[in-house]
Amino acid sequence: MKKHFLYILCLILLFRCKKEEIGPQCLNCDETPISNTSSTDVLIINEGTFGWSNASIALYNKSNNNVNQNVFKNANNVTSLGDVAQSFLQINDKGYIVVNNSNKIEVVKMNDFKSVTTITGFNSPRYMLKINNSKAYVTDLYSNSVQIVNLNSNTISGNIAVQGWTEQLVLHNDTAYVCDMTNNNILIINTLTDVLVDSIKVGISPNSLVLDKNNQLWVLCSGGFNKENARLIQINPSNRDIIQTFTFSNINHSPGSLIINGSKDNLYFINNSIYQMSITGNSLPSTPIVTNSGNLFYGLGIDPTNNDIYVADAIDYVQNGVVFRYSASGSLIHQFTAGIIPGSFWFIE
């Protein structure tokens, strides 16, 4: 008997001596916090695998090609940013990371990514839009509302009732234009009164929209899963009329990530490959600017300063993705490893 107890004791002691590690650990990660971000830095917002809480932010310096991984984690000495980093917005000297499945927005200082606060109380937040210096809107997948955030107190101050899933949104004058994925509308919200005033019917699944230099709205509708052909729609916000509609020829195609360049005269989107289209173009581009040779492109970003094209391949969605940086004309400049599922980019202002 005695022998057995001694034996157990040994066993216990043996395994107690190890350094205590709890939860996910990184094998090859530099854990030093970043010192100072600059205007030559690009943020890569890595969504992470849904439900796995492995979202992260990577920082790429476009002048020296240096990459810092896990910027938020390292700056704040926490294990994870959260579950699904959906989008990022810079407002002055602060960064807002919308963490969809952790129901929160992390507010950080832009220079070192140290946490300012966490805005909680969301349901399934998607995108954030600055309305003015004290107010922002946040769209949501499930809450049937657009949340109003007070930027001074970093709290939710109210909400605007909508029906279903709201996605990307833009501001023009005193009006916010919001993609309504459930009802295939562009919702029109008066930002002075926070009231939903109207909607414009577009195609199925309007997933992204931009405003061009002539203050025209461009809306990309994916068409759902083989429900209808995808469409790119131009809307004149002043009279809410649809000016023109470009229909994609293949019903299987599901384009997304509509982005506009810095001078707001060229549109970019992913439709397997990357396409570029002038706002004055009279048809959809037939040849891509970047061809997806074996890659499945996920996130897209256009450098507003020089039109460099950043695009990510998430590979199997359970490992670090790869980011390709192409010149404005589509030749590869550099490629580097980011975090898990690189979904979007932010070019630090």
Binding site: P24, N54, S222, N226, V318, Q319
Partner: protein, 648 residues
């Protein structure tokens, strides 16, 4: 008395070589003209064999195959099948925490590559091919064993990693029994178990009732938040109840009967620790029924089993306003026969016809399919050598697959020692699930079956010295799985399965058992260890960093050890489970550190006239380890369970 028991055990579908051995004894006692002395190569007498009834019952497949037979103490000490496998075998369980999902990875394979049989009836969901091991309370079966690798080839097609066999054995000779147990535990756990067995005029009636409820509102350190605050687990309340009723009739050289298993689980699904709120709920409702007819006629033994399984799964997420309900039904029919030509050769023929159907919001219409398989082969015994050769023919809808063979053998190395060398090889196929084929969008109806080619070799050694019994078993395996189905995103923005992945599983499994009796003191040690290296060897993306890396959530090392000590009416039990580092990203950049969990219990029996009162106290996670079994899923620290039972 013993005969009847053996007879029943024997007719189980997979007890080939052992059955031959046991049936020979029966045949002898029934005055069949048989000589069997050669078969007992260790010269054991009938009496000593008879004294080891339970060990005989546990041995269902030829000894050359690797299996884990759980002893009754382990079954009773475990809350459910998940805990039983996790703590008492080398097989890895993916445990999402109390009240949540629990799936399996057997020899590095995926969750749908392990098949679970209940008295022969295959329970795996026709929809995703998986089993949630947290939904199987241990009171609902009295025997359980794992068939590793090549052993599972004999059970069914489809088990690329292994199979789990749950059995309810009948004993027509036992006394009437009644047993009730009430347990109270930490985090609002209440459990009531009732079990009765009643025999009259060759009829056996048995009932098991189960009720369990828990709040699971344990505290944990939230490492994902600044300052790692202590938080309480949210949204993890659960309740489970079930009833199983069996009725059997003893026949001359056989039995006929059936059983019904009703089970209902209602649980909230706890969020990851990075989520502040959760409103997910899952309800699982199962109806399972089977009829069995077992018979021995001359040299032919057969079992005819017909099972009907209905599973309902209701998933709700209040905050996302999602409500989904799926129903699946399956009918599983088995005819298993063994023909004992002589004491050297037995012929086995097993026929299985399975019908599956399911309806779900994820399918455009109700989906169904029929699968048939016929396994034929023989076992041979020549002195110290035993061999078996089998092949399985599979038909699925209108596709015929004529080759899924399994061969195995063992040789006794020394005439006087129970030291065997053993080796097995085979090919097994796992067919795509209904979700793989028909999920909308993404389902791919041109998928090929997943194919596993496996070989294994090892040794086993058992020795009895006085009152000490020693057993050792070690096996190395290689399992090459091709056409492994993996869901990946497509250019159409939805995910779709393809036969892309190829995986090499290599490893080593060892079991050690030592039982010593000193008068009224019994000390029993049991240890299981597995080393598993599972690597992905194929990709279609040159950027893919998962090549030649360990598959995620496959620990390289897993070890557990159980000590049970019985002295008069007091027993002590201690269990140690070590799960080694496992990677959680396919490029092996992220990992979960190893965890080591200690559990202990003490129980005391008190005899009150005819009634046996047992009080027991169990401490789980004795050293209050803070750990995650799955990334960002909270696990409880030290917690307790106090039970009182009355047995008649």
């Amino acid at each position: 008395m013993f005969k009847a028991k053996l007879l029943l055990v024997c007719f189980n579908l997979t007890s080939f070589q052992l059955c031959a051995y046991v049936v020979k004894k029966i045949l002898l006692t029934l005055l069949f003209v048989f000589s069997f002395t050669n078969t007992f190569s260790n010269n054991e007498t009938l009496d000593t064999i008879a004294g080891k009834t339970f060990e005989l019952i546990d041995q269902k497949i030829p000894q050359q195959y690797k299996k884990t037979a759980f002893d009754s103490i382990s079954i009773v000490e475990s809350q459910n099948l998940s805990e039983l496998i996790q703590q008492h075998s080398s097989v890895f369980i993916k445990d999402y925490g109390p009240s949540s999902l629990s799936s399996i990875s057997f020899r590095g394979t995926g969750a749908s590559h392990t098949q679970v049989q209940w008295n022969g009836v295959l329970l795996n969901s026709p929809m995703n091919g998986q089993i949630d091991f947290s939904l199987y309370p241990t009171i609902f079966f009295n025997q359980a064993e794992l068939h590793h690798g090549a052993a599972s080839l004999l059970d069914r097609n489809g088990a690329l990693g292994g199979s789990v066999l749950l059995k309810n054995s009948q004993n027509f000779e036992s006394k009437n029994t009644a047993f009730i147990k009430q347990s109270v535990g930490s985090f609002g756990a209440y459990k009531t178990e009732l079990s009765t067995s009643f025999i009259q005029n060759k009829w056996l009636f048995e009932t098991q009732l189960f009720y369990y409820t828990a709040k699971n509102d344990f505290e944990f350190k939230n490492i994902s938040k600044k300052g790692t605050p202590i938080e309480q687990q949210k949204n993890a309340e659960m309740s489970q109840y079930g009833i199983q009723q069996g009725i059997y009739r003893q026949l001359k050289n056989g039995s006929f009967g059936g059983r019904i298993w009703l089970f209902d689980s209602d649980r909230n699904l706890a969020p990851t620790i990075t989520k502040d709120s959760a409103n997910e709920n899952q309800k699982d409702q199962s109806f399972r029924a089977l009829l069995e007819y077992k018979q021995l006629r001359n040299k032919l033994s057969f079992t005819v089993t017909s099972g009907l399984i209905k599973d309902v799964l209701i998933y709700e997420d209040m905050s996302a306003k999602i409500y989904s309900k799926s129903n699946s039904y399956l009918v599983d029919n088995l005819i298993n026969t063994t023909y004992y030509i002589n004491n050297k050769i037995n012929i086995i023929n097993n026929l299985n016809i399975r019908f599956e159907t399911a309806e779900s919001g994820g399918y455009s219409t109700i989906k169904e399919r029929t699968q048939g398989s016929w396994m034929t082969g023989a076992t041979f015994h020549f002195g110290r050598v035993q061999l078996n050769v089998f092949n399985r023919f599979i038909a699925l809808n209108d596709v015929f697959n004529p080759l899924a063979p399994s061969v195995g053998g063992k040789i006794q190395l020394l005439k006087k020692e129970q030291l065997y060398l053993k080796a097995n090889a085979g090919i097994n196929y796992h067919y795509p699930t209904l979700n793989d084929l028909y999920w909308n969008p993404g389902g791919n109806n041109s998928l090929e079956p997943e194919k596993a080619q496996m070989i294994e070799a090892g040794f086993s050694f058992t020795k009895n010295i006085g009152t000490t019994e020693l057993s050792l078993d070690a096996v190395g395996f290689y399992n090459y799985v091709s056409n492994w189905i993996i869901w990946l995103p497509t250019e159409f923005n939805y995910w779709s399965p393809t036969n892309l992945k190829e995986v090499e599983n290599k490893g080593f499994e060892a079991t050690f058992g030592l039982k010593t009796t000193f008068g009224k003191l019994t000390v029993k040690h049991n240890a299981n260890y597995a080393y598993t290296a599972s690597t992905n060897i194929k990709t279609n993306n040159e950027l893919d960093n998962s090549i030649d890396k360990q598959l995620i959530y496959v620990p390289f090392h897993k070890l557990n050890y159980t000590l049970s000590i019985g002295y008069k009416k007091t027993s002590l039990y201690y269990n140690y489970s070590y799960t080694g580092l496992r990677f959680i990203s396919t490029d092996n950049n992220w990992y979960l550190p190893a965890n080591f969990i200690h559990n202990a219990s003490i129980s005391q029996q008190i005899k009150l006239k005819k009634i046996m009162l047992t009080a027991s106290f169990k401490a789980n996670n004795l050293l209050n380890q803070d750990y995650q079994a799955m990334a960002y899923r909270a696990m409880p620290g030290r917690h307790f369970l106090f039970s009182i039972s009355l047995g008649l």
